[in-house]
Symmetry: C2
Subunit: 337 residues, 2 copies
DNA sequence: ACCGCATGTGATAACGTTGTCAATTCCAAT
DNA sequence: ATTGGAATTGACAACGTTATCACATGCGGT
């Protein structure tokens, strides 16, 4: 038998203490409808004295709002997602919401998908935040659509299908490529994964080179994990006409390039320049410290929660918001040898 | 006006379709009480046909259980916490629970503490998981005690105050120090933070040295962030009688030591051996790859959830569970020069 | 005097589920 | 036959909150 939870005061008790009706208390506490200054004061004093806390369940039962925001993450890890989550919790609670987290399979796992749908239907969150890579899964989006819960896709790599919050990935990739070109590089390669985000960043990479009339030295999109990235990097650096700089689609890939360069006796940045994306902890802690792109997670988290809690009321409201970035110049980019 | 959520079937509708009473449906679906095989079958068919999903709020309102587990994290980041959380979500849902995440201030911020208490009182979770460093905060623990919610402390550095799940930190520190001593080192230093976890690991460090009749080359507990750790490391490595090996209380500190060694022209592991704790991503991605201690997050997460959902019924049940570890030998430990 | 409207308050009925108790049937043991 | 209990089912009242409607009151303009 678990210890009985401390008894908590109900609205009824607050009402009795304040000498008003139950509804008046509800109105005062929710700032809905009218209440005289005197009553308001009495009710607030009584609530404070009794340590009254509303019961989410009773509040949600009539069906209006559940005060819950669900964040859907993938089973696989991501440091960026963790940071995002912490930022969102802060914004959630400022709006009086609570955050529940659930994870979903990314592949077309039928049973797993049904299970998430069941959990969300049970929980009836007022909104759902879909993190990458789930935000690009048609199955997940269809499920949410069918569920009828408003959702926001965070950092998706494709347009359409509801509101979207993300960074200007193409612009960021263009900026970091420009930074490398400005240092004097002409043979620049791109190393990415096979996902949508890498495709976006590759687009920015191309755009920067095109503007200068240059062609990419090489493009490889098979760097799907640290090992594969190391392999790709070695192939790239051992081949003929070695690039003098590499734009890596993530910090992790950039670290793999750093490692491969070391293995081949190349000095960074003297012999080879490298840049990544995401400004992860590892970027600052690597050797040499990695030049990368930083996104403002706080601002993006705020916008994400905002979309759910105060949804744009017009049908013609913007379908998403795109945020800027910051180039964090550390020590891995220098003029070519 | 947000789009109306899809109407979901209620128990009442299922009961009507199955031709039984509402309570029978409840009993069948919860596997509580008796039900004939025939009835069970009919009810289950009806529930499936209507896509019935229980409503958490209605379920929790009568006060028995909320089916919610709250995880309390600190505002500050931690990669290990993120991984732990993902593991726990999986175990939560296997037990039919949902996970809400909230963050709390670690210092004695009175207002912040009251706010967390209010949110938890509103949410009435069936259990609370307290992650480091909150699990060692007396204020937080007192608040939870007063709230009356059962809680489990994850990886606390002190005993007492309720159930506890953690790793054998002292044993791990002893093992990694033994590993270094076995390579032949005699001048070994310890570099840690000022927190409880570092203190625990320092204890294991001492224990290993004592067993061999050795004295620590140096002990520094001021490595509270990456910068400070770098400073400590430089002081340590530039001083007289430089240690030939450093046990760092975290991977992050170990990376700072690696960086400082590089700055001073020391080769790792030829001139200096280094080891860390936690087997973070950065440990595998560093150069050289860092020798570290890996903990089994999955097992620990399972035990944590288990403590909350199936609490030990005897008053004399164990107050916690301690898990083992694994020494991950990479490339930063070698015989001394 | 009367209406109309803004302001303030309360009574009552939901919301969907589970706990409790009562009712019924059936079968085995007296 | 009779008793006792297990098996099976249903009726009804909670749980704590908000929505809805109804009822006062006061006040400015006709």
């Amino acid at each position: 038998m678990r210890p009985k939870a401390a008894d908590r005061a109900t609205i009824k008790e607050v009402a009795a203490r304040a000498g008003v009706s139950l509804m008046t208390v509800s109105r005062v506490l929710n700032r809905t409808g009218y209440a005289s200054a005197q009553t308001r004061e009495r009710v607030e004093a009584a609530a404070a004295a009794l340590g009254y806390r509303p019961n989410v369940f009773a509040r949600a039962l009539p069906g209006a709002r559940s005060f819950l925001v669900a964040t859907l993450i993938n089973d696989a890890a991501s440091a960026a997602t963790a940071e995002l989550q912490r930022c969102m919790i802060v914004h959630c609670r400022q709006a009086g919401y609570h955050m529940v987290v659930d994870s979903a399979p990314i592949d077309g796992d039928e049973a797993g998908l049904r299970a998430v749908a069941a959990r969300l239907a049970t929980l009836r969150p007022d909104g759902v935040i879909v993190c990458p890579p789930l935000c690009d899964s048609p199955e997940i989006l269809a499920m949410l659509e069918q569920l009828g819960a408003p959702f926001v896709r965070f950092s998706p790599s494709r347009m359409g299908e509801g509101p979207r919050v993300g960074a200007d990935e193409i612009g960021a990739a263009r900026a970091i490529t420009d930074h490398i070109l400005a240092a004097g590089h002409r043979r620049v390669a791109f190393l990415g994964r096979g996902d949508g985000l890498s495709a976006l960043r590759l687009e920015g990479f191309h755009s920067a080179l095109d503007a200068k009339g240059l062609a990419p030295a090489a493009i490889d999109s098979a760097a799907n994990d640290f090992e594969a990235a190391g392999l790709c990097a070695r192939i790239l650096l051992e081949g003929p006409k070695r690039p003098t700089a590499v734009v890596a689609a993530t910090d992790e890939i950039a670290l793999a390039v750093l490692d491969a360069a070391r293995g081949l006796g190349l000095k960074v940045p003297a012999d080879l320049s490298v840049a990544g994306f995401g400004d992860s902890d590892a970027a600052a802690l690597s050797f040499p410290p990695l030049t990368s792109i930083r996104y403002s997670m706080t601002a993006m988290a705020a916008a994400t929660i905002g979309f759910l809690i105060n949804p744009p009321n017009s049908a013609h409201a913007p379908l998403g918001r795109t945020f800027g970035f910051e180039l964090v110049s550390r020590s891995t980019v220098a003029p070519p040898p």
